[in-house]
Symmetry: C2
Subunit: 216 residues, 2 copies
Amino acid sequence: MPDESGFFDLVGNVRAMRRLKPDSIPEALIWKVLNAGVQAPSGQNTQPWKFVLVRDAAHKGWFAEHYAAAFESRFGLIADPEQRGPYKTTGQLGALYHQIDHLHEAPVILLVCGKRDWPFKVAPEDRIGLAPPNYGAVYPCVQNILLACRALGLGAALTTMHQVFEEELHAHFQIPESYGVVVAIPIGYPQGNFGPVTRIPAERQTYLDVWTSDEE
Amino acid sequence: MPDESGFFDLVGNVRAMRRLKPDSIPEALIWKVLNAGVQAPSGQNTQPWKFVLVRDAAHKGWFAEHYAAAFESRFGLIADPEQRGPYKTTGQLGALYHQIDHLHEAPVILLVCGKRDWPFKVAPEDRIGLAPPNYGAVYPCVQNILLACRALGLGAALTTMHQVFEEELHAHFQIPESYGVVVAIPIGYPQGNFGPVTRIPAERQTYLDVWTSDEE
């Protein structure tokens, strides 16, 4: 029987962990994490996910370099540490810079891919470019992966900045066009401590029977 | 500390439960479930979800009626039990017919809404109609809700058939245009037993470093 209290302790304690140790992860734990992922539900049990488990140093280096460049081009972060000048090393910005500088050292960068799928509401004549990946079908799997990492004491964080260079990413990792890369998750033992997250309580996000606020 | 074994027992045991008892659920459990939901991560902690908790009999009846009609129009299921003639009452089809016929009796129908958001890759000139809800941001919350239900012994199942009548749904429940209804989750104590799900093992869904199959 599932342990009720254990789950609720776990679910409120899954902070994004961006500072990881380079220590390798036992292979068995990786499969435990990914097999928790695939337990997720999907419409008509289509299981439209695939994983690319990146552990090779050269491939991680390639990803890290493009990731840093994407942050520079999108958010104005400075990829080269020597060009940065003084900056805050704590908080969200400090954690992002740390992640950029050390991403290649993470023992695993997991690419979670999702089969591309047009929602039935988009008529063929309205379709532009490639279909998006089936986000709704893949994210329950992603959430299971994050929870499983936490249960095993592994640090992980969702990243989506690879979307900036998804074409090169597809070419580099030979990912077919029929799949999109939904998230990239660096995984490793955390440097810091796990802790609770800050969230608006559900009671303030809920309407009873009918939406009654004026919020638009 | 989270209990490792408890989580892995739980995550592989979250079957979609479509046969629910009409018995009411203690209010405290509902908030426990929804507060597990809001612990999910979201980009820059935007928490773009809202819940409409439908417990009123007339509102549940309205939803159930439209839901059955949507299944009839989309999948050729017959909404009126008296018109059905002989049909299989077991398996997936039996469970769907049971759900259609008894949906109004579920103690709770939870509508999980997501803030509409265009992905940055869709240029303004390419936008057609309303933006989709931010699926990626809402589904981790949905998965937490399913796991929390399971941990508390509550049956639940994802449904998305409401998309067929989403316009009327918005009008009926006064949901603003700025939010889409991502999933509807009937929740109640289950009539049957929980059990493991059938999934392709992660080992067969994973490529090491580079995607190597010919699958398109």
